[in-house]
Amino acid sequence: MSKPAGASAASTLALLAPATVLFATFVLHPIADNVWLSLHDWDGAGAKSWVGLGNYRELAGDRTFAIALANNLRWLLLYALAPPLGLTLALLLCRTARGMRLVRSLFFMPFVISQVVVGLMFAWFFNGRFGLFDHLLRAAGLAPAALLEGDQAIYGLVLAGLWPQVAYCMILYLTGIATLRADLVEAARLDGAGGWALLRHVVLPQLRPVHFIAVMVCTVSALRSFDLVMVMTGGGPHRSSSVLASYLYEQVFTSGRYGYGAALATVLLALMSGIIVTLLWRLLRAERR
């Protein structure tokens, strides 16, 4: 794709300037600041003291960090369900029948309502004493789980997180479906394609820009989720359901270890960047074809 005639370098610069300047000032520069902070010890109030890579060395041996990382990976894997489920919902609900606007708005609600309250509901649902989940298990003849009190608590958290996350993916796919090209769909139909074939060969490929965004968004959410964890288990019991974001919060705000928290944040950012850059590279390569 060569540079079009009317698009001068000046216009490119002008188009990019506002976003780039704002982003560099308020996001990139603070990230650099944070990496600098991670090389110090600081309690947020007094003076900073240089420790070099000391925080990172401590992280390498930190048992809670290892647990949190493992939990985030579990979260990531299970969140892979969110885009397909969101796509299914979007395909189901994209019709223009009467009342569908209201129905779609209701399906959207989990994403919009405060995560604190979502966490509260699921915490009560999984509660070992009065939770409905154990009630259902007992009714089905199985042993009660007290899910949030043991080592499997993370799965309760992820399930709670999937609910709003699927709603989020649904929106993304609804947007994608709205930009489908009518001529391609018509042509396929004229060729006799319908149902599954239409979906697989005409619709899904066109949704590729959305796939990337959905996967990226789910990755970020899986690695950043915090409110749910704090409300449902607080990272417990004894930190077994910690995730990097909740551990980061605890280190910075509850324990007052800003330098250590900065190191954690840097590792978290590196991890996320690694995943996303890989996905991005694959997307760009596919686009070049």
Binding site: A19, V27, L91, L120, W163, T179, V277
Partner: protein, 285 residues
Amino acid sequence: MTFPAPLRSTGARAAYALGVGALLVVWMLPLLGVAITSLRPEEALARGEVWAWPRELAWDNYATVFRTSHIGRLIANSFAVTLASVAGALACATLAGHALAKHDFRGRHLLLAIFVGGNLVPFQTLMLPVRDLMLALGLYDTRWALIVFHVAFQTGFCTLFMRNFIRELPDELLEAARLEGASEWAVLRHVVLPLVRPALAGVAVLVFTFVWNDYFWSLVLVQSEDVRPLTAGLQTLRGMWQTSWSLVSAASIVAALAPVTMFFLMQQHLIAGLTYGARRDTDRA
């Protein structure tokens, strides 16, 4: 609209309605729990009553929420910050997204990667540097601090979004307009924008929701109560010693109304669909 194919028989339509209805009920169950909790009297919760239908519906929980929190001012602040942020983020992102999608220049992939990568950063990382920046700019403790930050941060994600959608538009369309002598701005305004209306609507809804529900930055960049937005203001319903979960539930439902309404209104753009294809047909005619 040709996708999906409309349901012909009444049997199919009935089956669809029933299926969607059943799914909706299951989907809404946690929300039903929130609604019931919001109407439960505080004493009942203290006594451990969690699932049972409340003996009396405490409608005055909602009255308390409105009374305790100067809610009119909170809502006004939220709308001011959110709408301005949405407008700003959409504008920056569409401009940058267009350049990244349709202009060929060195480093465009790197720039895209930076926009994407920066969006991944956890908020705690940015907290102190952004606060210091706002102090230096004299914006601290004003609504502008929130607006400027949200525009800057949301631009990352929105640029990716718009870029991906604009990229799907065929180049011939833009070339045709350019050959007719249109400037780049005109191309953007008259050719690109109408075709990416669903993307704009989708992004608007998402950014609206993010900014509306944000309370982290409302706490970091704002101290005074009269500048505070809604979600941060409603947080004060959580006490030092006890949390009144019924009030918090009521407050969260009140706070959720704006984004849901926004979504409801934006839907006509989201499901407008296939505008591009239709236009092409008329071109050929």
